[in-house]
Symmetry: C2
Subunit: 362 residues, 2 copies
């Protein structure tokens, strides 16, 4: 198997509010050290390094996030940072990043990776990524990593795929996609889990740049004016033209704008210990715990406390007689939350937005 030209496009522009008060508008999840000793973005870059050297890497984010990313990753060349002209969901950003690759080498495989996911088995991840690049190239396919569901999650989109029509490529299994499903209600999620043949949409994709262009032409022609204008703008090196081209693309997710419409989409097994680290309680399953199930960052004293997550580095936290709590101290703001209700943290942020005195805490 010849070494593929694999380009990584890291979506570094997430604006998570689920990790408030540690995560803020100016310090989103990908810059937090919650899933390891490094910020998640730095870990994402480090993780793919054996497969993708810095010069083949693109980080795509808005101007402010790009400034932060450059500070965090000073060794990356300036060409690695691609600033979104404006926030318009993932389709315009991935079209632009892929257009840049297409101009250099239409045969190159683009690997799209969110900056704020956790992968526990790094070696297997790299093997699966390599196989996925091979599948994308050989089959002229759009490849999407599907995560084998472990519970009826309602926070992910699901991908229905044909498990009988699977094929092995470079040691990994790939299945034709039958359809994309929106985030389901619990009852529906339970049905998916029981039925089998459904995987969580990880938001990690692989495609050959030329195939991406071809799929647009054949299955999503409404994207074509933007695509053509992007190519022209990149050739002319005109920032103004690029901005105009970017705005021609619909402000949609790439799933909705292209993946759901295209034929020849394959799902790849994301069996490498994936987590989107979607909320504070996720970390209860990731951090080391004491004998009573408490996972803590910072000095802690506990008396009859169980299954609590504490983020309070540099200070002391004392827990007395409490259970299943999320406790997060972030300088000017403190969160104390029932672990089962941590999805409501984003509602706290919404409440803060509405109060003039509280906007500073967002």
């Amino acid at each position: 198997m010849k070494e593929r030209d694999i380009r990584a496009v890291i979506l570094a522009g997430g604006r998570g509010t689920r990790f408030w008060p540690l995560g803020r508008a100016a310090r989103p999840k990908q810059f937090l050290r919650i899933a390891g000793p490094e910020p998640m973005l730095a870990e994402t870059v480090r993780r793919i390094r054996p497969l993708v050297p810095p010069r083949r890497l693109t980080l795509i984010a808005d101007a402010a996030q790009t400034r932060q990313a450059r500070k965090l990753l000073p060794r990356l060349p300036p060409s690695s940072f691609l600033v979104e002209p404006e926030a318009r969901n993932t389709a315009p950003a991935l079209m632009l990043a892929t257009a840049r690759v297409w101009l250099e080498n239409p045969e190159a495989v683009v690997a799209v990776l969110p900056a704020d996911h956790l992968i526990q088995d790094r070696a297997r991840f790299l093997a699966r990524l390599r196989a996925g690049a091979e599948a994308a190239a050989r089959e002229d396919a759009l490849v999407i990593f599907g995560i084998p569901p472990t519970h009826p999650a309602t926070g992910f989109g699901y991908i229905r795929h044909n498990r009988r029509a699977g094929r092995k490529i470079a040691g990994a299994s790939f299945f034709p996609v039958l359809g994309f499903k929106e985030k389901p209600e619990l009852a529906q999620a339970e049905k998916y889990l029981a039925a089998g043949g459904y995987a969580w949409n990880s938001g990690m994709f692989l495609w050959r740049a030329g195939v991406f262009a071809e799929k647009i032409r054949r299955h999503a022609p409404e994207l074509e004016p933007a695509w053509t204008a992007m190519i022209a703008a990149l050739r002319s090196k005109s920032a103004a033209a690029l901005k105009r081209a970017f705005r021609l693309a619909p402000a949609l997710s790439i799933d909705y704008a292209l993946m759901e419409k295209a034929e020849g989409v394959l799902v790849a097994d994301g069996d490498f210990g994936w987590s989107d680290v979607g909320a504070w309680s996720t970390l209860l399953g990731l951090w080391p715990k004491d004998a009573a199930g408490n996972a803590v960052r910072g000095a802690t004293v506990t008396l009859d406390a169980r299954n609590c997550l504490v983020w309070n580095p540099g200070r002391l936290t004392a827990l007395v007689g409490v259970r299943d709590l999320i406790v997060v101290e972030a300088g000017d703001a403190l969160l104390v939350c029932d672990a089962a209700l941590d999805q409501r943290v984003k509602d706290v942020v919404e409440l803060l937005k509405r109060s003039p005195e509280c906007k500073k805490y967002i």
Copy 2:
């Protein structure tokens, strides 16, 4: 009724650990602004001002606490501050404070007041104090304020008294004491409550200085060498002699050393909205609450949170889906505690004492 010469002796030396992490060894309860806008000690001084002017006031505490008290109360004359030569419980301190008064005027009435109690009805308190001084003077009695029990508390000593032999003095009722009871178990406390004729020992006392001397002579002669030596040391103005005299007194509470032994002890009705503010959850009954029963100091956002007490001034606290919690942020340390278990906060302090890295948080 002629105006009595009433002297207030404020016991300002408490070392509460129940308000950790706000309360510290260097910042005990009487210096905290937990029961009102002022520190409890300042409020105690202000409360009795209509009855006792500053020159008739003595604050007794150790050297460090006296330094803090002088900073807090800069208008009090230096003579108001009496430094305990060493920590030896209340008997030696109250003997010394009373001896000072005795030398000036044996007819003066000493009112002993802890610095860290809350009184809700100030006018009634002053009326009861005035009546108590009258009773102490007229009856040559040691007077102790007894609090009508509202529940079977296990955190207080109880005073059994003869409710049939009560008498009115200056508009207030006084009853002969029949016996002092140690802090009871719950079952015993329930019996006291059902039986009637029991009051909580408030630790607030009144006695004429000359009567105090006489009671020592007749009922607690083992205190006499210390008392005589204190009088001599105060006359000679020798600090060394005073220290020796202080050490002659047993390191006992005044209840144990004198009150329980003396005859002619009267209990006065402490019906003025008293609280010893014994632990964090007490404040749930004292602070204003929102519609969901949360009592907070500091900006707070709540989503489905009930009956929580929050101390976090100057920062934002968000509570999501939690119930009956005590949340206290004190700069370098944070407490999250089940409100029903706040008595265990002192156990946290004990744990911290045992850890070399954690001693700084005490």
